[in-house]
């Protein structure tokens, strides 16, 4: 069974699916708390790291040393969690941070805007459907822009993922079953070689981070 990354727009049910998978597969689960760990490693406040990392980058600032260092710290923290070959990750940019690594299953969840807005209005009484839809569209747009600038990719491009599941007529429980079934396929077996690859990746990340911190 591989490491599973779950990408999704806000309020698309990603967290619940991740929790379900972690329970079914008896895996550890990590989400946005990866940022806290990375901040601790660097000795900065998490708000600082998160703010700098996710602030809308302008063309001139996207590759500043600082941003690179923060991103590397997140990647290293995640890579270290991955060496056991068992993890459900539903935090920032899993599909990019662990791209092309063996033993990783990248899943994406999509859901209709209307459905996502209903989830939001149920959480915030008094919020109108229209306001909820606007909020979600803004968050989506921010993320799309971020991914475009950081990775020159379209976050919605299905070729970035092994599996895209549309929650329009598939329940979260079924999505969990589907992703677990995909994870059970032989292509994702975490063999000794795969583990070695994951350890080397973590080692490489650590080295790059050291370098970035030194400069």
């Amino acid at each position: 069974m591989p490491i599973i990354t779950i990408s999704r727009g806000t309020l698309s049910g990603g967290q619940r699916t991740a929790e379900c998978l972690a329970q079914v597969l008896d895996y550890p689960i990590v989400g946005r708390e990866i940022l806290q760990e990375a901040a601790r490693t660097l000795g900065v406040a998490v708000e600082d790291l998160s703010g700098k990392l996710q602030a809308r980058p302008s063309l001139f600032t996207r590759l500043t040393q600082e941003r690179k260092k923060y991103l590397l710290a997140v990647q290293t923290t995640l890579a270290e969690r991955c060496t056991s070959g068992r993890l459900v990750y539903h935090g920032l940019a899993g599909q990019f941070l662990l791209r092309n690594l063996p033993g990783v299953l990248a899943a994406r969840l999509i859901a209709p805007l209307e459905q996502r807005a209903q989830t939001l209005t149920a959480l915030h009484h008094g919020m109108t459907q229209k306001a909820a839809e606007e909020f979600i569209q803004n968050v989506d747009e921010e993320r799309r822009r971020w991914v475009k600038l950081m990775y020159a990719a379209d976050v919605e491009d299905p070729s970035l993922y092994d599996l895209t599941v549309n929650l329009e007529s598939i329940s979260l429980d079924t999505a969990c079953v589907i992703i677990a079934e995909a994870a059970a396929q032989p292509q994702y077996e975490v063999t000794a070689d795969v583990k070695k690859g994951l350890e080397e990746f973590a080692g490489g990340c650590r080295e790059q981070l050291l370098e970035a911190r030194g400069s």
């Binding site: 299953l105 079953v177 589907i178």
Partner: protein
């Protein structure tokens, strides 16, 4: 019980996948059969029907009555199969021909270009540059067709229930995932779903009858069936004889199973 529609680019493993699913689920397999059936129903050759239907439409002729007739015939042939429940369809445009139907699991398969080129080089002995050009050409022709006819982007994951990338996953693995999905309650054909499949078949039969009939074939109509009641939507010319409505009702009523025809048309003046 489920209806599975598989959409993919050429040489992306769709046929192998459909066969694997048919073996596991023991569902009938339908692909170009619907084109053959439509052609024989209309008394034209399969090649003519394919050409007429698939030729990239221009903006001004995408709704020609011939094309509408061909598409209605293919959709109706597919609806006959679908009404039986279990089915694997891997022919053209399942995601749009079956759009809006409940109980349909719409799967898209994607594969990296290198793998698709390799597959074509192996099967046809082409050189890889020609193979890639061919694949890109077919992809773009199909994408344009779907965009012109339905205003949809064939690659948009929103059109499908799931998209499986064959970059890492193999065909047997993809087949296992889809089999598992089809077994989930989300795709169980409840009584309500079965009734909708029968409604869909009746609506397709009526649409085909209207596309065939001399007096109504020029009209671009949308049909809904609710039991034996038929709703007809679209725009029609308000003829001074007042006969157009009668003609539509008459053609629709000639289809077996139709009890009531309700016209919900927008009438326009043909000689403004």
């Amino acid at each position: 019980m489920a209806i599975i529609s598989i959409c993919r680019g050429t040489k992306s493993g769709g046929t192998a996948m459909a066969q694997c699913l048919a073996e596991h689920l023991h569902y009938p397999l339908v692909a170009r059969d619907v084109v053959q059936e439509a052609a024989s129903d209309l008394g034209v050759s399969e090649a003519d029907l394919s050409r007429g239907m698939e030729r990239t439409p221009r903006l001004w002729n995408r709704q020609s009555s011939e094309r509408r007739l061909y598409i209605a015939a293919v959709q109706s042939a597919l609806a006959e199969h679908v009404a039986g429940g279990d089915l694997i369809y891997h022919g053209r445009s399942g995601q749009v021909l079956l759009a809006g139907l409940p109980g349909v699991l719409k799967v898209r398969l994607i594969a990296p270009m290198e793998a698709r080129v390799r597959s074509l080089v192996e099967s046809e002995g082409m050189d890889s540059t020609a193979a890639e050009q061919y694949i890109r050409h077919v992809d773009s022709v199909r994408a344009r067709w779907v965009r012109m006819m339905y205003g949809e982007d064939v690659e948009d994951p929103v059109l499908y229930n799931m998209v499986i990338n064959l970059k890492t996953l193999s065909i047997p693995a993809a087949c296992a995932i889809v089999t598992k999905t089809a077994e989930q309650s989300d795709f169980t054909a409840t009584g309500e779903v079965k009734a909708k499949l029968l409604d869909f078949r009746l609506a397709c039969r009526v649409k085909l009858a209207l596309a065939k009939a001399r007096d109504t074939r020029a009209l671009d109509l949308r049909i809904e069936a609710h039991g034996g009641a038929i709703d007809v939507f679209g725009a029609a010319p308000a003829l001074s004889s007042g006969k157009m409505g009668e003609q539509i009702v008459e053609v629709a009523r000639s289809v077996e199973g139709v009890e009531v025809v309700r016209l919900k048309l927008e009438w326009f003046d043909p000689y403004p």
